[in-house]
Structure formats: structure tokens, C-alpha cells
């Protein structure tokens, strides 16, 4: 059973990192290295989820972060503003995570709430995430 309501704690436990690629405007909040059996699953407007064959969540991916998601949810700009450049991408340093935990929790809740809405509108979540 996919645990969509516990993303924030999964992220803490599995030491997810938040990375932003300015060239693509892509935002990742995920395990540093996604497992090979994982597939991207997109059943929400802005978020794709990394989900393993066992239904475990390994991360979130937003394709157009600043251009779309953050332009509609401006409070999350702080996440990118706190990142530091590492080679060609931006990374949220571990020592800044504590300060943005409410935002991360809010993003995790947003995914959970939007998923519940989608399920209420007829999405068969279990079937969708398990389709390979």
C-alpha cells in the first residue's frame, strides 16, 4: 500500500535531498540516487512521484518548477533561494533543511491532499502505481 500521507517522514528517514536544475527548471526532492526498479508516476497536476515496484515512494519531481509551480505557490521560492550552486545544479544544504521544514512539510501535505482529491474523483491509485 502506497504511503502517500507520510511523505515528509519518509523524506527525513531516507535523507532525501532537494535539487534544482536551472537549465531545465526541474525540482527534485528525492533520495540522492533513485533505485533502478523505480518508475516516475504522474497522477497530479504539478508533481510526479518516484515509486518502486513495492509501492514505496522515493521522491518527487516537478518539471517546471519556477515557471509553473512556484509562480502559483510563491512561498516555495524560499526553498530555491536557500540552495547553493554545486556544479551546474542547485542543492539545498543539510544545514538549511531545519529552517525550511515547515515548507517541506507543507509540500508533502499538498501531495497527500491532492492525491486524496484525485482518488475522490475516481483515480484508482493502487492500480495506477502498480502498473508496470
Amino acid at each position: 500500500m502506497i504511503n502517500i500521507t507520510d511523505i515528509f517522514n519518509i523524506a527525513k528517514r531516507d535523507k532525501w535531498v532537494m535539487e534544482y536544475n536551472p537549465d531545465l527548471d526541474s525540482l527534485y526532492w528525492s533520495k540522492p540516487k533513485i533505485s533502478p526498479s523505480t518508475q516516475l508516476k504522474k497522477f497530479l497536476q504539478d508533481f510526479s512521484l518516484y515509486i518502486t515496484e513495492q509501492g514505496l515512494i522515493e521522491g518527487l519531481f516537478i518539471e517546471y518548477a519556477k515557471g509553473n509551480f512556484i509562480s502559483h505557490n510563491t512561498e516555495y521560492a524560499e526553498l530555491i533561494n536557500k540552495m547553493v550552486k554545486v556544479n551546474d545544479i542547485y542543492v539545498l544544504p543539510q544545514n538549511k533543511v531545519k529552517g525550511v521544514e515547515p515548507l517541506l512539510k507543507s509540500m508533502a501535505n499538498m501531495v497527500g491532499n491532492e492525491t486524496f482529491d484525485a482518488v475522490n474523483k475516481g483515480l484508482d491509485l493502487e492500480k495506477f502505481v502498480m502498473t508496470r
Binding site: 537549465d23 527548471d25 527534485y28 533513485i34 518508475q39 504522474k42 497522477f43 509553473n68 551546474d88
Partner: protein, 137 residues
Amino acid sequence: MTNTNKDNCFYSDSFKDYRGKPIKLCWSEELWITHLNKHPEIIDPLHTSELISKTVLEPSLVMTGYRPGNAKEMLVCYYKEHKRSESDVYYSKVVIGCSGPDLYVKTVFMGWALYIYVVQEKKYNFKELYRDKKTFL
């Protein structure tokens, strides 16, 4: 993802799209690893090249335009359906940048999505360049 200096290509290749237009790829090792870490389905350069080639040569849908907030670089997004069910599709996406002398591969990945959420570019007034009559995208 950004192309790097040609002298620094860990993974390089060239492709032709459905129009016969040449597309280059030149990723540093660091860029390759960054990409592989987030998109493990690309497996290795051989698989990645096959995936890119299939997607740009026989796409289901091709969109072109500028991503929101960046009017400098024109993009071409190639989508290819691989599997489908009544509500969702397993697809590949290749994003090509057009700002250099050659068209070049910025990113490639695969995933499942509900049909309504696959083509993000529809929201940003990208123009449709090509559509396979059979596609649901």
C-alpha cells in the same frame, strides 16, 4: 540538462529526428551521473541512445516553444507512447535545446502519467509540430 564542452564529452552521440534534422548529445561524466541518479531507467549510454533515437525518430507528439520564464531558448519536446491503458500512458520524453549551432539533447526520461498530465507544454502555448494520428496525447 546542459550540454558541455565537446572536449569534455563522457557520453556523446548524434541522432536524426523524424524530419531528418540532426541532433547532438554531449554530456560530461558528472552530467551523466546527475541524470542517471534521477532517471535510472536510462540505464547506460547504449540504452539512452536507443531511447532517444526511437523517441525523436518516431515520436507520437512534438511540441515547440519557450518554457515559462525563459524566452531565450527555444525548446522542442518529443513524446513517444510506449504502452497505454484506458487512462494512462507509459511514455518517453526528450527535450531538445535550440540555442546553439546544433540542436542538442537537454534531457530524456520515461514515466507513467494520466493522459491529462503528460504534455505539460500544452499549458504554455507551445505549438504542435507533429502529431501521430494514433496518439492519445
